[in-house]
């Protein structure tokens, strides 16, 4: 059963109930609880396609709760809690959605070691995964948003979830937070996209969330093997370049950006080595989505 099959009232009631709203995100189930009236509406719209996991074990239990500050008694604040503990300070009430999304990501990043967690966007085309690692100025989320509305299946804009033993990557299609100018760029390029409210004044500026396409969420239990690793870089007024990247450089960038590379140690070293050897590694410089799409389509054509 999907979230959209509930009425808004039922959805709101679940959020406020003892059992909470239990959502399947890829291989994880998250229980979300909140009484915050302003959170239910955008969440209902953005979470529409996710599966309700009522009978499965939830591994993450999160809440958004109201909080009053002694020093600013008249400003409403909210706090994110995971298992009753607050990993970051309270924020103004209109940040609730970004706090929830970041909070869940943080909980995944610090608790999960049964996957090697790369910090990268991942999409699938023709049965294989294309990894878009995060590196400074990469704009991975933006490029990823463009790709998934042009025939690519979304795995994640944030986590590359590698099952070390099989080499498979697992989808974790979460909301995709666009930041600042990227919001306008995606609105122009993809008028059909469903965006959440613009949330101003967060740590990363203005944020608006892209709802993942229904088809990607429907296939969130289908892993795939990666074949391409492309390090994107957006640069204004630059001609498109898609060139070979030395494997040693790709290794270092990928490994140093993984969330739990150090924790997994030798296992992670072997996994990244194997991954790099199996994949084509490229560096992409682009200034517009159309030419980037043409180049990436050519790379990932069968």
């Amino acid at each position: 059963m999907k979230v959209e099959q509930l009425s808004l009232e039922e959805f709101r009631a679940r959020l406020g109930s003892k059992n909470g709203l239990r959502i399947q995100f890829g291989p994880f189930v998250v229980r979300i609880q909140s009484f915050l009236p302003s959170l239910a509406n955008p969440l209902y719209r953005l979470y529409a396609f996710y599966t309700l996991a009522n009978d499965d074990i939830a591994e993450f239990h999160v809440q958004i709760v109201s909080k009053r500050s002694l020093r600013r008694p008249f400003t409403p604040f909210v706090q994110f809690l995971v298992d009753g503990q607050a990993p970051f300070p309270a924020a103004p009430v209109h940040h609730a959605l970004t706090m929830l999304e970041w909070g869940i990501n943080l909980a995944i990043a610090v608790r999960v070691n049964h996957f090697l967690l790369f910090h990268c966007a991942a999409v699938e085309r023709n049965g294989h995964v294309l990894l878009l690692p995060a590196w400074p100025g990469s704009g991975k989320t933006t490029l990823c948003a463009a790709l998934i509305h042009h025939g690519y299946r979304l795995f994640s804009d944030e986590f590359g979830l590698m099952h070390v033993q099989s080499g498979n990557f697992f989808p974790l299609p979460r909301l995709m937070p666009l930041k600042n100018q990227a919001i306008g760029a995606i609105r122009d390029f993809l008028p059909e996209v469903t965006l959440g409210p613009e949330i101003h004044g967060t740590l990363k500026g203005t944020v608006a969330h892209v709802r993942p396409p229904e088809a990607s969420i429907d296939r969130e239990d289908e892993p795939a093997i990666p074949r391409w690793i492309v390090f994107p870089k957006w640069t204004a007024h630059q001609p498109l370049q898609l060139e070979e990247m030395p494997r040693s450089e790709a290794f270092l960038l990928l490994a140093s950006n993984a969330f739990n590379y150090e924790v997994l140690g030798e296992v992670a070293f072997d996994a990244v080595t194997g991954l790099i050897q199996r994949c084509e590694c490229r560096k992409l410089v682009y200034s517009d989505f159309d030419s980037a799409l043409v180049a990436l389509n050519a790379l990932t054509d069968d």
Partner: protein, 378 residues
């Protein structure tokens, strides 16, 4: 027979710790709650090892097994970091800094205690001779270790009122090194000579360092738990006691007898009594009554009654969804108790007043580093 006195979620956790194979038929709902309790108690790695040894990690729900394994991987990483830190400290100090005794988590690992295999510990605890403290601290400071930035108050707190110096952390690493010069607070009610512990310590030939002798290791653990700590969410330390009692007893049939004798000799009957009492109560550790009654300095019936009510509520984690006023009260009382035991009243009252002041005006703490230390010293 004791279980009726425990809350349902405490029964679940205690059963998991003392009899992991019994978990094979619990419901998904119970698993979900248990995972949260085990995480709060920092026992994911412990339970992963126990279930793994019993060959049951593949017979429980796979999502639960994944998180237990994740916890074990994290615990092993901490262990590796602590081993490396010990290696670096030994390298930095060389041969001429007198005997070094490794305490707590790292010592359990070095002593090869089975229950330590999945144990989480973030710090490296060392006991050195008081007269060597100053040269050791200077050497480490000269070779790349640093203190957190401390307020003058925290500095004074450590140097005058505790049995350790402020933690040292190498600037390239994260593991804290806690250097102790004795085993209990120098101004506390229990004055403990470190000398007998040193004399009995066991040398590890391959490392050239020492760990406490088996009975002293048990006694130190009990002293820490019932004298130095506030007991909140400290179940893993009771599990240390339980693990040691079982392991050492299986090695030496007379271990418990010797332990009692040693405790009476060192006047540690009270903390050991509590340790054995709660191990029996919660984990059903086999300790005969006849041995318990040989302990001197046993608590009176009223003290025992209060402890019996409060200790399980503090040691075992709170229910993640259901607030419990009784548990909060118990924890509050044990917090006071631990301070009462560690400090005379003329030090305690100003100390707690100062900490209350800081909790209202956190910005008055010199910086975040010192507030972190203050949090640790609470």
């Amino acid at each position: 027979m004791t279980d009726r006195r425990l809350n349902a979620h405490h029964q679940l956790l205690v059963r998991a710790l003392r009899d992991p194979p019994s978990l094979c038929n619990i419901s998904n709902q119970d698993w979900e709650l248990l995972l949260r309790l085990v995480r709060r108690a920092r026992l994911l790695g412990f339970l992963a090892v126990e279930l793994g040894n019993a060959g049951l990690l593949d017979k429980i729900p796979v999502r639960i097994a994944n998180h237990l394994r994740s916890g074990l991987i994290q615990a092993r990483k901490y262990q590796q970091l602590a081993r490396w830190e010990l290696d670096r400290v030994r390298w930095a100090l060389g041969e001429d800094r007198g005997p070094i005794i490794v305490l707590k988590g790292m010592a359990y690992l070095l002593a090869g205690l089975p229950h330590a295999a999945g144990r989480v510990f973030a710090d490296l605890d060392l006991l050195v001779l008081a007269e060597n403290l100053q040269p050791i601290e200077s050497t480490l400071l000269a070779k790349g270790w640093q203190h957190h930035e401390l307020s003058a108050y925290d500095e004074h707190y450590y140097r005058a009122w505790t049995h350790e110096i402020p933690a040292l952390i190498h600037r390239e690493r994260e593991t804290e090194v806690d250097i102790h010069h004795t085993l209990t607070s120098p101004i506390g009610r229990l004055q403990l000579e470190a000398a007998p512990f040193r004399e009995a310590a066991v040398r590890l030939p391959e490392l050239g360092i020492y760990v406490l002798s088996p009975p002293d290791m048990v006694l130190h653990c009990a002293v820490n738990l019932f004298q130095n700590n506030e007991l909140a969410d400290d179940m893993r330390h009771l599990l240390d006691l339980h693990g040691m009692l079982q392991h050492f007893s299986s090695d030496q049939p007379l271990f418990l007898d010797n332990l009692i004798t040693r405790a009476n000799q060192l006047r540690l009957g009270r903390p050991l009594f509590y340790g054995l009492y709660f191990c029996r109560l919660l984990l059903r550790t086999p300790v005969p009554n006849t041995l318990m009654t040989r302990l001197e300095q046993r608590p009176g019936w009223l003290a025992l009654k209060v402890m019996q009510l409060c200790v399980p509520l503090a040691l075992l984690p709170l229910h993640p969804d259901l607030p419990c006023r009784g548990a909060k009260l118990a924890r509050w009382w044990l917090y006071w108790r631990s301070h009462w035991l560690r400090m005379p009243l003329h030090v305690l009252v100003p100390h707690l007043a100062y900490k209350f002041y800081l909790s209202v005006f956190p910005s008055k703490a010199a910086n975040t580093a010192s507030s972190r230390v203050t949090a640790k010293t609470k």
